[in-house]
Structure formats: C-alpha cells, structure tokens
Symmetry: none
Subunit: 222 residues, 2 copies
C-alpha cells in the first residue's frame, strides 16, 4: 500500500496496540517514545500520517505540530492528535495549529482504524509515477526521493513532470521552451539553469538520472 504512519506516544501499551492494528491493515508503521527521536526520523523519512500525543516527556505536542506546519513541503502530511486531555482548548488549539483531526483518549481502536482508513482513502489519489527512487505526485505537485519530500519551485516541477511523463524518451529543449513560454528561445540558458537546480535537489550532479542527450534535450535514465 505504501502508506507510512508514525506515532509519537510515551505509553508503550497504546503504541503496541496501534502497531498491531495498523500493520494488520497493511500500513507501514513506526512509533517513537519521545518528540526528539520522532522529529529526527521525520526529517530522514517523511511519513504520510502522524498520530501525535500532546503530552510527551520532552517536547510539547503543540511544538511538534508547529514545527512541521511551518514548512510548506510538509503540507501533505496528515496529523492526527491523540490526547487524554479533554479540555476543549486543546482541541481547538490543535486544529488551529494545523492538525487534521483530533481523537480523544481513551479511544476505541476500531473507530480509530476506520477513521484512519477513511482519511487514507481520501488522501491516496495516487496519480504518481516513480522512476528509480524518485516519486512524483501530479495531484499534490510533490516530489519525494527515498520517501523524503523535496521542495521544488514551479518551473522545476513543470520540467520534472514533463520528463516523468515522457520517461526514457527524449524531451527536446524546443518542447520545454514551448511548454513553459509558448515559444522557442534558442539562445536562453534558462532551461539549463532549471535542469541544474533539479539535478542538485535530486542529488544527481553527474546527470545519471536526468540524462543530457547532446544536441537534442534531456531524458530520464531508468
């Protein structure tokens, strides 16, 4: 299914219940006992969903929420707050801070699963293409390398998506110019610039993924 869920939760029993239930549903799941180990993993490999306890030993859950939501590239990560604290304040605050849902402890595991499934169904609109370890999602306009979100600018995304749609076949400079500016501009080095940025962001400095076809254009190498 290829859907990764992290939980941050200092109660090992709850973590265990989540693990069993979510893995049975076919999700990839990892739990973390504190905020710091979670954040470190989060930056290494960004999950699709986070189940976030607000009461953690080291960092406030709301701080984690703020940290994630500060960066636009993480907009697609669903964050669900799990909290024992019944104060309405918390709920409102959490949603204000950018959480996508709020579930009160103690929760019914079946209900939790069904709410998660519902979200995933809505969330997976899988209009994606993957080459090597790089995935482009045409719906979200997002790109991941090894599961980690890569932030691209508009033009970079457009060129990369053209390349992905074309695959191994050559995409000529002329076609890129036509698509981006509706005309040819043979003298300009703009496309090269964007290709360079793409290669840098995708750690492809030698052009092993985005191949140059001398005198013609570019193509992907599988």
């Amino acid at each position: 299914m290829d859907y990764l869920i992290y939980s941050v939760e200092d109660d090992k029993n709850i973590a265990r219940i989540l693990e069993v239930a979510l893995k049975r549903e076919g999700y990839e799941f990892c739990h973390f006992l504190d905020g710091n180990s979670f954040l470190s993993a989060f930056y290494k490999r960004t999950p699709n969903m986070v189940l976030l306890d607000m009461m953690l030993p080291d960092i406030q859950g709301s701080e984690i929420l703020k940290t994630i939501r500060k960066e636009e590239r993480f907009d697609d990560v669903e964050i669900i707050i799990l909290s024992a604290n019944r104060m309405v304040m918390d709920k409102v605050d959490g949603l204000d801070l950018g959480a996508d849902d709020y579930i009160e402890k103690p929760f019914d595991i079946l209900e939790l699963i069904s709410r998660i499934n519902a979200k995933v169904r809505r969330h997976i609109k899988n209009n994606t293409v993957t080459y090597k370890n790089i995935e482009i999602d045409f719906d979200r306009h997002s790109v991941r390398k090894d599961g980690v979100l890569i932030e691209l600018t508009g033009k970079e995304y457009l060129i990369l998506s053209m390349l992905f749609k074309r695959g191994e076949k050559v995409l000529t400079r002329e076609e890129i110019y036509q698509a981006l500016w509706g005309q040819s501009a043979v003298e300009s080095r703009t496309v090269d610039m964007h290709i360079k940025s793409l290669r840098r962001k995708l750690s492809d400095s030698k052009g092993q993924f985005i191949k140059t076809v001398y005198g013609v254009g570019y193509r992907l190498e599988i």
Copy 2:
C-alpha cells in the same frame, strides 16, 4: 490503445471491479474464473499483461506462472500477482518465479490502476527498428547492440537511422550530404569519419554490417 489484459480470479466481485476500472482506462480486458480456461485462452491469444490470483479452484497460480515463464516467446508478457496471502514467502516466490509485480489484497483499485498504467507506459513497444543484433530506438535517440546501450553523437545517429530506414538498399553519399547539410560537399571526408566512428562503436571494423558500396555509398548487410 491496443493493450490486452487478462485476469484469473475466482472472486467475481473483484473481477467485476477490475473490468469496469480497466475498460474505463481504455484497456481491452478479459477475466477467467479458473486456471484452465485462462491457459486455453492464453495460447489462443496471448495478452500483454496478466493479473494473476495465486489461489485458484483448479491450478496453483504458481504453476501458471511457471508454465508461462518456461517459454521464451512469452517473455514480454507482464505478470502481476494479486494475492490475499500475506506471507512473505508468497511474495518472494512469486517474484522468483518471474512475476513482474506483487499486489496485496485487498488492494486499492486506484492504486492498482496507477501501477498498471505505469507499467504499460514503460512496456508499450517503442519506435524501434532492428537489424541483426542492433536495435535503434527513434524515441530515445539510442542504439543497442545485443541489448547494450551504445552512445552515438547526433550526426552518427542521423546517418545510422538513414541506413536503418533504407535497409539493404544503398544509401548514396549524395543523399547523406543532402540530409545532413542540405547541399553536396564532394570533397569533404566528414561522412567517412562518421561511418568510421559508427563502425568502431558497433564493433564493425571490417564493415561487415555497414557495407561500403564503392563509388556509390553505404548499405546495411543483413
């Protein structure tokens, strides 16, 4: 589109879902409720892709897989295993036996479609011509000898593609000059140079593949 997909699946509901979704995508689709009726159809009209359930009423899915993969002429048929059985064994075995992908039930139909689309994009025969053990791919601007990629420069590629289009018939120097520079340049040794490079890159130093027709031009030797 001209892409034929078979499924072997004893669950009529799943078969129905597949049928609706795949036909909407423009694929030609047939489903079979058991292994024997599938195999019989398979030999009558071989499909491009097979969606194979491992748990069938009559034959084991793995047997079907082995049967198909035994024959080299079916190498191009993509086989995707659909299985409810989560045992890793199954997955590893299936891929070992020559399946191209493995999708677990219950699967998300949208995800399945997107994975099929991705495979089809990559699989659909390219715009290629083959002589002897050399294949030219007009879309990629690439050439393979015994399946190994040969890097050609622009002019080399142009001349070789002219030769491939002409086949055994002679391609005159005059024609090459006309095509490459729009004029004749009888004094120049440039074409000879490119022919030499081509022969070197194609390991054809004696000109057994690209024959010289003295006083006229060049032609391919089948």
